[in-house]
Symmetry: C2
Subunit: 261 residues, 2 copies
């Protein structure tokens, strides 16, 4: 039997024309056979949204030299679902990588992030998956350092045993520092932090009032070992994630509800 | 000081004209001062999506007799953010209830569900929150039993101490059974289950190929105490939820990555 190449699925939430996904493709292109399925427009903040009420379109594109790639009219999670169930339904995907996102996805942002939701969707399918985010929102961000991090971590994860019932799901954030100033990798827990929102109010050209979501990220977690602290110190944060949201310690708060039946 | 009424925020993901939210408003309307902020169109499957790239519109509507209500052009999470930060910014919300959803949101569907994501967003803001879902997708579903369940659970949660740093977040699913056949409440863990997807392929009237997401829900969890099992047995499932996605047991799998620096 011939040597079977590793199969790597690449996606993101910034869309196919964002420089971050090009850096990621280049970082992993010689680690296996790479496929790209990525949104045809920016999908930041789309969380785990799926497209149920409309059909989806997938167009084959030549955006990445030598790589089979498709643009998708839907969300990052749609991209992963279609790649797994249509494009690669007769293959085993060894790794899904998502990003490199233009901007941070640490702490609670896992929940809002299309980048991380795509990776999480792949992990739900039993695939080792990693979301990568650079702490620089700009289109001109320098991905040199973060691409090397993405390659190193991708190579590490590809070297692990497959584990379809308990796949690895990593949220990797990389400080916006010159490569030589990156301090190394810290495995972290998700910080307890949140957005303190403000809505900008305005009036549109037609005289109609609108609100535009804005806000400030606030870390309320003074404990050790969080991703926010590691990033502040110049480390690359790696948070292993899972998707059992059950709050086991809260069971006892509900005794009164159940006993009252 | 006069008796301060409890403030209850009601939202959903099926939109303001879905019968389920009317049942929910009627179920809680005498438990406090009720406000409704709900999407102006169906938002099923929108997960924790937020609207970042477009402005949002909120229109005051007279949809609910005697209740201050607003329709929102965005997602369920947008509704909660605006209610918390604009409409009720000078108030303390005592309870956020979301639903009653037309259709199940058990197990992994917490992640995809706009209903549960709205409740989760409120919990992130420190507010006790509950998402209610009836296991009947139809617009003509009978909400009689589920509305009584929603009232009972809402009353229970309103009776708890406020706990802004550790609010209760409940995912409640109700079997589509006649009221007298409902067996009572079981506090459960989220089942390990997932969607096995199929995409329906088709050609649109303009000759363009499309894919439409479909699929079947499969419970792979043979263990005890899951929401799926409880519902199968005719119980109302209540899963307490949280949003720290850190996979603590996975830390050791990453030793090789960190030690190799």
């Amino acid at each position: 039997m011939p040597y079977k190449e590793k199969i790597i699925l690449v996606t993101n939430d910034d869309g196919m024309f964002a420089p971050g996904i090009h850096s990621l493709v280049d970082a992993v292109r010689d680690l296996g056979k790479v496929y790209v399925v990525s949104p045809d427009s920016p999908q930041s903040g789309k969380g785990h949204a799926v497209t149920l009420r409309e059909p989806l379109r997938f167009n084959k594109v030549k955006t990445f030299e030598g790589i089979e790639a498709y643009e998708c009219s839907g969300t990052p999670v749609d991209c992963v679902k279609w790649a797994k169930n249509v494009l690669l339904k007769n293959e085993t995907i060894d790794l899904c990588v998502s990003g490199i996102n233009h901007g941070a996805n640490y702490s609670i942002n896992i929940i809002y992030s299309g980048t991380m939701s795509a990776a999480m969707e792949a992990a739900m399918e039993g695939i080792h998956s990693v979301g990568f985010s650079l702490l620089d929102f700009s289109f001109e961000a320098d991905f040199t350092g973060s691409a090397k991090v993405a390659r190193k971590i991708s190579e590490y994860v590809l070297g692990l045993e497959k584990d379809p019932h308990n796949p690895l799901l990593l949220n990797v954030n990389i400080p916006a520092l010159p490569e030589e100033q990156l301090k190394g990798i810290k495995v972290c827990r998700q910080a307890n932090a949140r957005w303190v929102e403000e809505f900008q109010e305005g009036t549109d050209p037609h005289g109609m009032k609108y609100y535009w979501l804005a806000g400030e990220f606030v870390n309320m977690d003074s404990g050790n070992g969080t991703d926010v602290t590691a990033l502040d110190e110049g480390y690359i944060s790696v948070v292993p994630c899972q998707f059992d949201l059950t709050d086991y310690p809260a069971f006892e708060k509900l005794n009164g509800l159940v006993n009252d039946q």
